[in-house]
C-alpha cells in the first residue's frame, strides 16, 4: 500500500555535502529552483519529528513528535532552552527512564501539564520501519533521482 519512505540515505547526504563544498552555492540553488519538489507516500505535517533511535529495537513503534501541535502551546524556548532539547532529531538520547524521571517529554507528560506516560501509543504512533527524521526538511524535499 505504501511505498518506502523518503529518507535521504547517508551516502546521499555525504555526496551532497561534498559537491556543495566543491562547487559552491550555485549548484545547490539550481537544485532547489528546479520547480519539481518531492512527491511520495508520506505527506505528514512540516516539522513532524520521528524519533526511532531505540524504540523499534525495543519492540515499540517509533515516536512521532508534532512540532506544529506543541508550538501552538509553547514557544521554542521552553523546550530548546529551559528543557535542554538540542536542535537535532535523535540527538538527545531520550529514554523511557529519563521520561518517567521528569526529563525531556516527561517534564510535561506527567499527568500535570499534559497527559501522562501510560498513554504509550499516543507517542509511539509511528509507522513501523520509519527512520529518525524531521519530516519535510529541506534536504528531504529536494528532488533527487535516488528517491523514487
Amino acid at each position: 500500500m505504501y511505498e518506502s519512505l523518503p529518507t535521504i540515505t547517508a551516502t546521499r547526504t555525504d555526496a551532497t555535502v561534498r559537491t556543495a563544498n566543491r562547487r559552491g552555492s550555485a549548484w545547490l540553488l539550481a537544485m532547489l529552483l528546479i520547480p519539481a519538489i518531492f512527491f511520495s507516500a508520506a505527506n505528514a505535517e512540516y516539522g513532524d519529528v520521528v524519533i526511532n533511535e531505540v524504540s523499534e529495537e525495543a519492540g515499540m513503534r517509533p515516536v512521532v513528535f508534532p512540532h506544529w501541535f506543541h508550538r501552538i502551546r509553547f514557544r521554542c524556548k521552553v523546550c530548546h532552552a529551559d528543557l535542554g532539547f538540542k536542535f537535532e532529531a535523535g540527538g538527545n538520547d531520550i529514554t523511557m527512564l529519563k521520561i518517567i524521571d521528569g526529563e525531556y517529554c516527561g517534564a510535561c507528560h506527567n499527568g500535570n501539564i499534559a497527559w501522562s506516560v501510560e498513554n504509550c501509543n499516543l507517542c509511539h504512533s509511528g509507522k513501523p520501519g520509519t527512520k529518525t527524521q524531521v519530516h519535510e526538511s529541506t534536504l528531504q524535499k529536494l528532488v533527487s533521482p535516488v528517491k523514487r
Binding site: 556543495a20 505535517e45 508534532p66 501541535f69 508550538r71 519535510e136
Partner: protein, 319 residues
Amino acid sequence: MRSTQLSISCLSLTLLLAWAAPALAESGAETYRTKCIQCHGTGVLNAPKLGVAADWVERTKKGKAVLTRNAINGINQMPPKGGSLQLSGAEIEAVVVYMLAQLPGDGAAAKAKPVSTAAKTAKADSAAAAPKRVAEVAKPKPKPSAKKPKPRGKPVNTFNRLMRPPSQRNLPPTRDGIHDASSVETAALQHPKEAFGPMPKSNSGNRVDWVAALSKGIIDPRFDLEDDTKKPIVLDLNIVREVKGSMPDVVYPHKQHTEWLDCSNCHPSIFIPKKGANNISMASILLGQQCGVCHGRVAFPVSECRKCHSKNKSKVAKK
C-alpha cells in the same frame, strides 16, 4: 469561544448548503475528515471502512434514508452522530452521501430512493437547519456518482507530477504516511486542519503564518513551562546583510525571533553576536546550517526567499 466558532462554521455551512447543493458531497467530505474518520477510516470497533465495498454491501441495501437515520440515532457500537452531537441531520446526511459515493460501483442502490429522513430529524435538530435547505438536500445528487468510480492504480498524467498536490496537504495523522493508521490511538491525534482553521495562511511549510498567528493573538504559546503569565523579552534589532547580485539584501529581525526563542538558542552556538562576524551563505542554509538550523525544518522553509531577502536594493547591481 469554541462554541461561537462552531456555530459560525455551522452557519456558514448552512448558507453554503442553501446556495449550493452540489457542494454537498464536498462539505460531507470535510465533516467526514474531522468527525467520522477516526472510526470509518480505520475500521475500529468494526465500523464499515470508507471505500471498502465488502463492509458496505449489506448496509447499502437498507437505503440511504435508513443509513442516515442510523447514523443520527446510533447503531450498535456507533454512537449517535458518531459522538459529534452538534452536527445537524443534514450534515450527517451529507457525510452519508459522501461515504456512499466512495464505494466502487457507487452504492447506487442506496441513492436511487432518496427519502427525506434528514428532513424530519434535521428540523427537530436545530434552529440552524432551515426546511428549505433540507428540501435541497434531499434531491438526488448527480455529482458524486459522476466523479467515481476511482481509477485503479496511479494515473500517469497527474497534474502535479513531482510536487505535492493541494489535496495531499495537512492530512490527518491516520493518512499522513508516518503514523501507524492501524494503531487505535492514532485516531485520537488531532487533525492539523482543525488546529490551523482560525490561523492566517501561508504558502508553504505548515501552510500557516506563525508570525502573524502570534502577533494577532490567535495563538498564545507559553513562554514558561508552568507560568502562563510570563512574557518574552523582545529585542527589536534588525541586522541587514548585503547580498551580491540581484537578490535583495537579507534583513535578519531579532524581533520575530526573540518572540519564540532564547538568545542562547543562537548565541554563541550558531551565530557570534557581532554584526558581520558570521560568514553566512545560501549553500550552508540549504544544508541545514546557520539560518537553516531552523528554516527548512520547523520555521518557515527556505522556499520563502522573500521573507529573508526583503530589502530591495536601491539600484540593482549589474555584473
